[in-house]
Amino acid sequence: MAQIFAYILHKEGVADDSALELVAAAKKIDAAASVTAIVVGSGVDAVCNEVAASYNEVWKIDGADFAYPNAEVIRKALVSIVPKGALVLIPHNTFGMDLGPGLSVKLDTAFVSDVVDFEGIDGDALKVVRQEYSGMVSTHVTCDTAAGAIITVRPGAFQPDESKSAGGAVTDKTGDAGDLGVSRRFLEVVEAEMGDVDITKSEILVSVGRGIEDEDNLEIAQELADAMGADVSCSRPIVDAKWMEKSRQVGTSGQTVSPKVYLACGISGSFQHMGGIKGAPFIVAINKNAKAPIFQLADVGVVADILEFLPDLAEAIEEAK
């Protein structure tokens, strides 16, 4: 088996949850593989020591150039240090999406993205599972790893490997990072504005998606929320259409919420949306498409047109009070 590397995301001196998920992913490719963590940043010794328990080796690139994760700078560093034929696992988040495709071109390897599972390797052919059409169908994909591969792995797809039995040594590779001249310069992070309601603190959320169809119909969701004592949140298309503020969006690119009850109304249930729900809320899905992925994730499902169902439900709740 070729060498397997995992790119470690970290923030404020702490490794991201994906660090242990990628160990599990690497072992699913090959249980006997030696797995090396790559940690890039400025002042990353604590992160290196943290992940050393879980990886056979840790490669460190440390310096002021890497203080912010600029994918262009990091790509250049990785091209200098990753050996030919290696497999590199990267989390499929906004950073991984920025880094992965270009890195595969520069290393002249195969590239397969947003992998949710590995199903073994036959010679050089690695069999992986991906999803298409917003998770409505899955596919088996073979990736020719003869010249190596860059693989982005969906966050949350693998249970973290908590065994911490590896105890690898940390090697400083900073000197090998090469020329970092950049054409894309990081300026700043603009933090999301908080709206009038902080949905991260809501106990009950009535969340609406594409199924609401029209801005005027948001009233229906608000009436139901009023009856339930809930707040209204939404999925991405509603914010894209400018019908609600970004601060009301649940998902990996929006807010992370942890209500007791989550009513998903006309929401298909993409992983980006569900990735914004933490804890174990009681999820009720109402959708007119009986095959929507949300029904595989919810506790209770109702196949109905939300434009008809929500007003009836609101009225019944008011009457029952």
């Binding site: 600029n70 994918a71 906004t94 950073f95 920025d98 992965g100 495709p101 270009g102 890195l103 071109v105 195969a110 590239f111 993205s113 991906r130 999803q131 298409e132 059409y133 917003s134 998770g135 409505m136 169908v137 899955s138 596919t139 994909v141 020719d144 950049v182 054409s183 894309r184 310069r185 300026l187 992070v189 603009v190 933090e191 009950i204 009856a227 339930m228 809930a230 298309p237 894209d240 690119s253 807010q255 007791k260 009850v261 009513l263 009681f282 009720v284 899905a285 095959k291 992925p293 029904f295 595989q296 994730l297 506790d299 209770v300 499902g301 109702v302 169902f309 439900l313 019944a316 709740i317």
Partner: protein, 263 residues
């Protein structure tokens, strides 16, 4: 500013239920409604707005069969100045890298200040923009949700990152950007606009026109190959409430009360 936008004709998932065919070799394509990939449509709108502000041109390009011409015409009706169809039997079965190789060959025939793709398409791979940039040796930013043209040599872009935050970068031109939905409000395309461009000639470029060795693209060159489609088994699934609307609502209110979902 001369802008090229890469677009793709895809099944419209808001109009269709996607189902796997009986052999698992493909999705059921009979009666599917196709449209331009949603992310690409935002990219074209952004390109048109930039052109209208600073001058220049917008070219839309796609890799596909004859039917893909319809998405080029749609985007031209929206306001793109010209379209180019990249079509050849040799392109069939290309993986992401193959597609980027084809697009690169077309891009190198012209001179563009800005190249855009949608952040992702129907396959959800989010790969072509980043590959294209690396092949062209140009700077790249993905998931772009804001563009400010600074001058002829650089732009300021906002990228969507986790938690609703935005990462601001200054990027040298020319560059490649992948565009996230929500960056603008794509304009409505009326039947009059479609009629206006109905007879405009759209050039078709094949492997030979692009100077491409057929073995560098298509299935033979693909390192990544889809084997089959299947319906994911994502666990137990929800308890589905059935019966009349009254019965469903009664049961649902009972459950909501038990879980603290009615205050």
């Amino acid at each position: 500013m001369d802008i090229l936008v890469c677009v793709k004709r895809v099944p419209d998932t808001s109009e269709n239920e996607i189902e796997v065919n009986s052999s698992g070799s493909d999705i059921e394509r009979d009666d599917l409604v196709y449209s331009v990939n949603e992310w690409d449509n935002y990219a074209v709108e952004e390109a048109i707005q930039i052109r209208d502000k600073v001058g220049g041109s917008v070219t839309v390009v796609t890799v596909g069969d004859d039917e893909s011409e319809e998405v080029l015409r749609r985007e031209m009706a929206m306001g793109a100045d010209q379209g180019v169809l990249l079509s050849d039997d040799a392109f069939e079965g290309s993986d992401g890298k193959g597609l980027a190789t084809i697009l690169k060959a077309e891009i190198e025939k012209g001179k563009y200040d800005l190249i855009m793709t949608g952040a992702q398409a129907d396959g959800g791979a989010a790969q072509v923009g980043g590959m294209l940039a690396a092949m062209l040796d140009l700077p790249y930013a993905s998931l772009v949700n804001l563009i400010d043209v600074v001058d002829d040599t650089k732009i300021k872009v906002g990228r969507e990152i986790e938690g609703g935050n935005q990462e601001m970068n200054e990027v040298d031109l020319p560059c490649v950007l992948s565009i996230q939905t929500g960056i603008n409000e794509p304009r409505y395309v009326g039947i009059r606009g479609i009629r206006k461009v109905a007879s405009v000639e759209i050039p078709v470029h094949g492997a030979a026109d692009l100077g491409l060795d057929a073995s560098a693209v298509g299935e033979a060159a693909a390192k990544v190959k889809r084997q089959d489609y299947f319906v994911p088994d994502m666990g137990e699934g929800a308890e589905m409430l059935e019966g009349s609307t009254e019965e469903i609502i009664e049961k649902l209110i009972e459950l909501l009360k038990a879980k603290g979902g009615v205050k």
